[in-house]
Symmetry: none
Subunit: 160 residues, 2 copies
């Protein structure tokens, strides 16, 4: 068995029972597995990505830590996946606005939340000197990030 797989299992075991989040010390974990600390980063980068349904935060310096949060429950995974599919790696402002409108309509998000999202992906927000293609990519990432935040909050109770 690969080291990475062991570390992955170890972390997932910590997360599995009711715990939606876990906090760990990079150096301690590396010590425990007898490997280089950067190995932990590798595992996080390859097995605990947003697409895998996890968000990680960390802090350096004295008392530093790494926190891993499971973000998508199996039931919602479908929805999140659909959203990801639909958005892809680029999306125009018009498409984004339409999609947000639908979400408000379906009461997945509130009207104020929809307005904020619309503002975030508006031409206003993105009027910076980069090519349109980059803007569309940026908009897609922004949308996915925001929708993930929504999914994370609606833990368990989403209506399609």
């Amino acid at each position: 068995m690969r080291l990475s797989d062991s570390i992955e299992s170890f972390i997932k075991a910590m997360l599995s029972q009711e715990e939606p989040a876990v906090e760990l010390k990079r150096n301690e974990l590396a010590e425990y597995f007898g490997c280089a600390p950067s190995q932990i980063n590798y595992v996080l980068a390859t097995r605990f990505t947003l697409d895998d349904g996890y968000v990680t935060e960390s802090r350096r310096g004295g008392g530093g830590y790494i926190r891993i949060v499971r973000v998508v429950e199996s039931g919602q995974q479908r929805l999140a996946y659909l959203i990801n599919e639909r958005i892809g790696s680029a999306i125009t402002e018009e498409e984004a606005v339409r999609l947000i409108g639908q979400l408000v309509q379906q009461q997945v998000i509130t009207l104020p939340e929809g307005e904020i999202m619309r503002a975030a992906v508006s031409g206003q927000a993105l009027s910076v000197p980069v090519p349109d293609a980059v803007k569309d990519a940026l908009r897609a990432r922004s949308m996915k990030s925001m929708l993930t935040a929504v999914a994370r909050q609606n833990r368990g109770a989403l209506k399609g």
Copy 2:
């Protein structure tokens, strides 16, 4: 637990019960926590900034003190300040997160709204190959755009 966190909690506990302000002696507090007096300054500088919603004043010499005041503003005032003065043309993710947290704290926006905004300005959302300076500029525009949307909605539903 970090020393800084302990000191932060201690001060916030003093502030929490109806007290909008607290006055303390730097040396006494340092003595109490068994640390260097300058540690207190560090805590103030990193956790009781204006972005966090606090103002600090102090006086040296005999009978000297440090006073920490929780600043109170209306939601519209705060929004206007952020949009017109604070954010400017560039802002880092850390600063943005701080400002958003403060808005949630003061109930200018809801927690889900805050999460969405945070998601919109996160490194995740902006992980596109452009220089940091451009990301900071993008983030500033995004923030102002979203906050403007919030301000627009609050208009009419607020007194003064």
